[in-house]
């Protein structure tokens, strides 16, 4: 494992597929789909390889890459690296877990894309571009590169929703673009202020500049406490829109409902997690004191998210909407964990990011299978599915159980750890939050049982359960969800070092 170009290779390996796809005639559906699917394998294999090596004790620092890229000024009185933007990639355990999650979900989503009905070629090219962006976000070593990769996810996503989505797809695509564009703009301001004031956008250097008193004296222009507070708030809003935090969640509902299910797998599974990733990486990483200052309100926001999403999910008529609000609700748990501001809380937040990624992808995979057969996901128009589609119904039930945090599945571990953290620091807020545990059970069971149990509503449906090809990704996800739930240590171990780093930052 010669580290020098490994990460670049990992991130840009889908590019190969994009180029190859360009040579395939767009009418050849099977070839395009197969090639599209196969193109997602190289990053998956590479990331799994890295993960395996990491578990065996390989040090991830060896993977870091660094090349000079853009130099903004060249004053003689400044040091070599000031106002220099490098192309630099590096990862730690946390990013690696996210990268593995991304590449895995992309492959599974590509498998679920067999239900895409038109213009497969363009679809897969955008799909692969999206993957490059997502992988890059987690590997970026500085904020500017992070931002570029982040924008790289925005554009393909816009087209994927706007072109291959459902009935109201264009509106969904525009709200996606507008909300996220706004978030990106705010993020850009933060990045630029930091860059202008410190002369760097590299995370480690920034950390050094912001917190080391010696380095602070060398700042181009000092950062006052007040300014830091504002920068943190701006950062919080920027990632809060992505996460999303109530009241910035409306765009996400539309995307959940309108985008093709295979894309929602990625959207709910990975893209939302970029918000969490950013909050943890930049929020806690760069502004620990400000984070501590707002911790109480972050926890309260988390509880609001949790309950707000849960209550709204309770009255939705459309299963996708239930899942959308359940995403809002589950993102609340991430905030709860972050608001706890201790090891258990942060670990819970990261666990929740991973676990919700798996569970949301799992449920939307089932939605895609279901929609293919019933052409509807309105709860009232379904019912008694367990009779005609026992396997799908069983998996839906399993997904619901995972989502409501049944022990033995990944959802419980994250919920438990996050609450464990919050109970240590803010027991009253946490106690209110536990109401969400009940509500999650209520809305999830209401939705899923009304679809699967009860008298059969639709005898007209071709009673076809999922085929073997469809079942494979479903079972892969189910096995992952269960294995994280049964033996969480396998997820805790790779994260340990990264969390300790963050706790050191917070330590003061």
């Amino acid at each position: 494992m010669n580290g020098t170009y490994f990460l670049s290779l990992l991130i840009f390996s889908p590019l190969l597929g994009m180029i190859l796809l360009a040579f395939v005639p767009k009418t050849q559906e099977r070839t395009v789909k197969l090639l599209g699917f196969l193109s997602t394998l190289p990053p998956l294999l590479l990331s799994l390889f890295a993960f395996w090596q990491y578990l065996r004790g390989y040090r991830l620092e060896h993977l870091a890459e660094k090349h000079d890229w853009v130099r903004f000024t060249d004053f003689p009185f400044l040091t070599e690296s000031t106002y220099l933007v490098r192309y630099e990639l590096n990862i730690d355990g946390f990013s690696l877990v996210m990268i593995v999650l991304t590449s895995l979900l992309t492959t599974l989503a590509a498998a679920a894309s067999i239900h895409i009905k038109k213009e497969w070629k363009g679809y897969f090219q955008l799909f692969l571009l999206l993957e490059i962006g997502m992988l890059g976000v987690f590997a970026a070593g500085n904020m500017i590169l992070f931002f570029i990769f982040l924008e790289m996810t925005l554009v393909p996503m816009f087209f994927l929703v706007g072109k291959w989505g459902g009935f109201d797809r264009e509106r969904a695509a525009y709200s996606y673009l507008l909300y996220n564009g706004l978030g990106s703009a705010i993020l850009l301001i933060v990045i630029l202020v930091l860059f202008a004031r410190t002369g760097t956008s590299n995370l480690e250097l920034l950390n050094e500049m912001l917190h080391n008193p010696v380095a602070q004296a060398q700042l181009i222009a000092p950062l006052s406490e007040e300014l830091r507070l504002w920068l943190f708030v701006a950062l919080f809003i920027a990632f809060g829109i992505k996460l999303p935090i109530v009241p910035f969640h409306r765009w996400m509902l539309r995307v959940h409902v309108e985008a093709p299910p295979s894309i929602v797998m990625l959207h709910a599974g990975v893209l939302l997690k970029i918000g969490a990733y950013g909050l943890i990486r930049f929020g806690i990483g760069l502004f620990p004191d400000q984070f501590r200052h707002f911790a109480f309100w972050i926890a309260v926001l988390g509880v609001i998210n949790l309950l707000y999403g849960a209550f709204l999910a309770f009255v939705q008529e459309e299963f996708k909407m239930v899942l959308a609000y359940s995403s809002v609700s589950h993102m609340g748990i991430i905030l709860i964990g972050l608001g706890a501001l201790n090891e258990a809380g942060i670990q819970g937040a990261i666990f929740q990011a991973v676990s919700h990624g798996l569970i949301a992808a799992f449920l939307f995979l089932l939605v895609s299978i279901l929609y293919e057969r019933t052409s509807t996901t309105t709860i009232d128009r379904l019912g008694g599915l367990a009779k005609v589609m026992p396997l799908t119904a069983g998996c839906l039930l399993a997904g619901a159980m995972a989502s409501l945090g049944l022990p033995g599945m990944s959802g419980f571990i994250s919920e438990f750890t996050a609450f464990l953290g919050l109970f240590q620091t803010k027991p009253v807020v946490a106690a209110i939050g536990t109401l969400g545990i009940i509500m999650t059970a209520v809305y999830m069971l209401r939705a899923v049982l009304n679809m699967t149990f009860g008298p059969s509503m639709r005898n007209d449906v071709q009673a076809l359960d999922m085929s073997t090809i469809e079942a494979i990704p479903v079972f892969i996800l189910l096995v992952l969800i269960v294995s994280v739930g049964v033996y969480p240590y396998m997820l805790a171990k790779p994260l340990q070092a990264a969390i300790e780093m963050m706790m050191n930052g917070l330590g003061g």
Binding site: P247, A386, I437, G454, A492
Partner: protein, 617 residues
């Protein structure tokens, strides 16, 4: 043998996965897989029990999850209580497995049923073996899942769907109490392990308020699981599941879990007077409350269900009165005679295809085996001397009396009277009198169903003798490691207990057996009380009207806020941008003079601003 006790739950788990995977092809032969696996579990449990009889506690752990420097472990422990529970659970489960082969014969999803039974048994066995609270919680929830799946087994029935959902949600409400209590304990003690918690409760690391708070929170969990008031409403509805499931839920698994939890955490409860009192009062109240409802119900399974709620109240009362042994003893005897009653009821339902006792009658002759077996169960639950229920109930009454809960003692006595009455009312209505059903061909159940009942009937009599004031208190001595306090109870307690149960039986016989007393002489005198009881004190309706409606109302309110306020603000911002843009574009009308005017106004504004700000913008 104790080192491999962890394998006990794995047999039924294997049965679950195996039957899910290939059960469809195996059809009804899948029953043998389930039966074999539970038999192995049972045999191994027996071996573990005998091993434990001579040995001491065995405990093994493995790292499960790390949080920073804190290591959470998973493992298993074999204590006296665990070993005892293992045998009870695996035995009842084994018998239910056998019985189901006859009862579920011909069902389309036969193998699925056995798979679920496996999961359920696995969860309960795992719960019993857990050495720490967190692991208990994990299996606790899995038990809930098992019961949920089994109650909703006839998923195409609207009632089954509702019942399954209700069971899950009601118990989940309790579970949240458990969840909070568990986490609070963790931050106080620094560990989930039972031993550490007890040590902390003893040496005062835990403050008195904290002990009380956590004990009561965890008790809420037990209230949910064990169907205690006010979270009991799911248990009668759970009768929607197939009858063998009811036997399993009521006897050995689900509801026993709550009692087991309190028993397992007993040292924590003992450290707090308030918590003990809460447990005792809730238990005593539930016992009476459920017994009164049981008096008037007409569904055979529902009567049994309310009797379970009531008996569980007894167990809680025992635990709350400080008698750990009496609680576990009654749990054991109850497991046997309640399983027997349910299986016999299942046999009856199997024969007459109805659950309404008004439509039964005269089955004594038609079912020569089920009838006497049911009678044995009824005698045991009524506390007739020499049957197991008599000894365990007596133990509880003694505990309540010696602990000074006089009011609770009398409540328990009244409950015993009610229990005897409604159980014999049930018996006479089902088996006595003339035939009131229109089933032509009523026949006795097949041997595969009667055999487990016979075993249970033997146990329903014999189980009482492991702990009697006359022949020795083996169970008590063993469970408490020989430290069992032999309380000399006043002899009149036993006499009173016997008297009230016989009185109840006599009254039932007068009304339903001999019929010298009109059936409605009481109900016609107090019609309002009667309908109150018939409608189960309107608790369901109350919950629906308050909590149910409130949740819906909040949800709807929020959904309007979401749709109009949150979305509205977003739209407002969008509209503002849109309006200003269209205003701007309207100025671009091609009229040079308009442009000139705009330029001039802009210039003028700029000058004014600069003049006011002194040149700095």
């Amino acid at each position: 043998m104790m080192e491999i006790a962890w394998i006990v739950p794995l047999f039924p788990l294997f049965s679950f996965f195996f039957l899910l995977a290939v059960g469809k092809k195996m059809k009804e032969t899948s029953a043998y897989v389930g039966i074999l696996m539970t038999l192995l579990s049972f045999l191994l449990s027996l071996a573990v029990l005998f091993d434990r009889l001579g040995g001491s506690t065995y405990k093994a752990e493995h790292v499960w999850l790390t949080i920073g420097s804190v290591k959470l472990t998973a493992g298993f422990a074999v204590t006296a209580l665990n070993a005892w529970m293992l045998v009870v659970v695996s035995l009842v489960s084994f018998l239910v497995h056998i019985y189901s082969k006859g009862y579920m014969h011909g069902d389309e999803r036969f193998s699925v049923f056995y798979a679920y039974l496996g999961l359920f048994t696995f969860a309960m066995l795992g719960l019993v073996l857990s050495p720490n609270l967190l692991q208990t919680y994990v299996f606790w929830e899995l038990v809930g899942l098992g019961s949920f799946l089994l109650i909703g087994f006839y998923f195409y029935k609207e009632e089954a769907k509702a019942a399954a959902k209700k069971a899950f949600i009601m118990t989940r409400i309790g579970d949240v109490g458990f969840f909070i209590g568990m986490i609070l304990l963790f931050w106080q003690v620094g560990s989930f392990a039972y031993d550490d918690i007890f040590r902390a409760a003893e040496d005062g690391t835990l403050s008195q308020t904290m002990v009380t708070l956590t004990a009561i929170l965890i008790f809420i969990g037990a209230v949910g699981k064990s169907g205690q008031f006010p979270l009991h409403t799911w248990l009668p509805d759970a009768m929607e599941g197939p009858t063998p499931v009811s036997a399993l839920i009521h006897a050995a698994t689900m509801v026993a879990a709550g009692v087991y939890l309190v028993a397992a955490l007993f040292p924590l409860y003992e450290a707090s007077e308030t918590a003990m009192l809460t447990v005792a009062v809730v238990g005593g109240f539930t016992a009476l409350f459920a017994a009164t409802i049981g008096l008037v119900q007409t569904d055979i399974k529902r009567v049994l269900a309310y009797s379970t709620v009531s008996q569980l109240g007894y167990m809680m009362l025992a635990l709350g009165s400080g008698s750990y042994v009496a609680g576990i003893f009654h749990l054991t005897t109850h497991a046997f005679f309640k399983a027997l009653l349910f299986l016999a009821a299942g046999s009856v339902i199997h024969a007459v295809h109805t659950q309404d006792i008004e439509k039964m009658g005269g089955l004594w002759r038609k079912m020569p085996l089920t009838g006497p077996l049911f009678l044995i169960g009824t005698l045991a639950i009524s506390g007739v001397p020499l049957f197991s229920g008599f000894f365990s109930k007596d133990e509880i009454l003694v505990a309540a009396w010696t602990h000074g809960h006089v009011a609770l003692f009398w409540i328990a006595v009244v409950t015993a009277f009610f229990t005897a009455f409604y159980m014999f009312r049930l018996f006479f209505l089902v088996f006595g009198g003339e035939k009131r059903h229109d089933e032509k061909d009523v026949h006795e159940a097949p041997a595969v169903m009667t055999l487990p009942m016979i075993v249970l009937a033997v146990l329903a009599v014999a189980a009482g003798y492991v702990h009697t004031p006359w022949f020795g208190t083996f169970l008590g001595d063993w469970l408490t490691d020989g430290a069992y306090a032999h309380e000399t109870a006043p002899g009149w307690i036993m006499a009173v207990a016997t008297a009230v149960s016989l009185l109840g039986i006599f009254l039932a016989w007068l009304m339903y057996g001999k019929r010298s007393l009109a059936r409605d002489w009481l109900s016609s005198r107090v019609p309002y009380t009667y309908s109150l009881l018939w409608n189960k004190y309107y608790i369901d309706e109350l919950y629906m009207r308050t909590v149910g409606y409130a949740a819906t109302a909040i949800s709807l309110l929020l959904s309007y806020i979401d749709r109009f306020v949150v979305e509205g603000i977003a739209r407002l911002i969008a509209a503002t941008v849109h309006t200003s843009a269209s205003l701007g574009s309207r100025m671009q009308n091609g009229q040079v003079q308009m442009y000139g005017a705009v330029t001039f106004v802009g210039l003028a504004l700029l000058v004014v601003i600069l003049a006011f700000t002194g040149g700095y913008l």
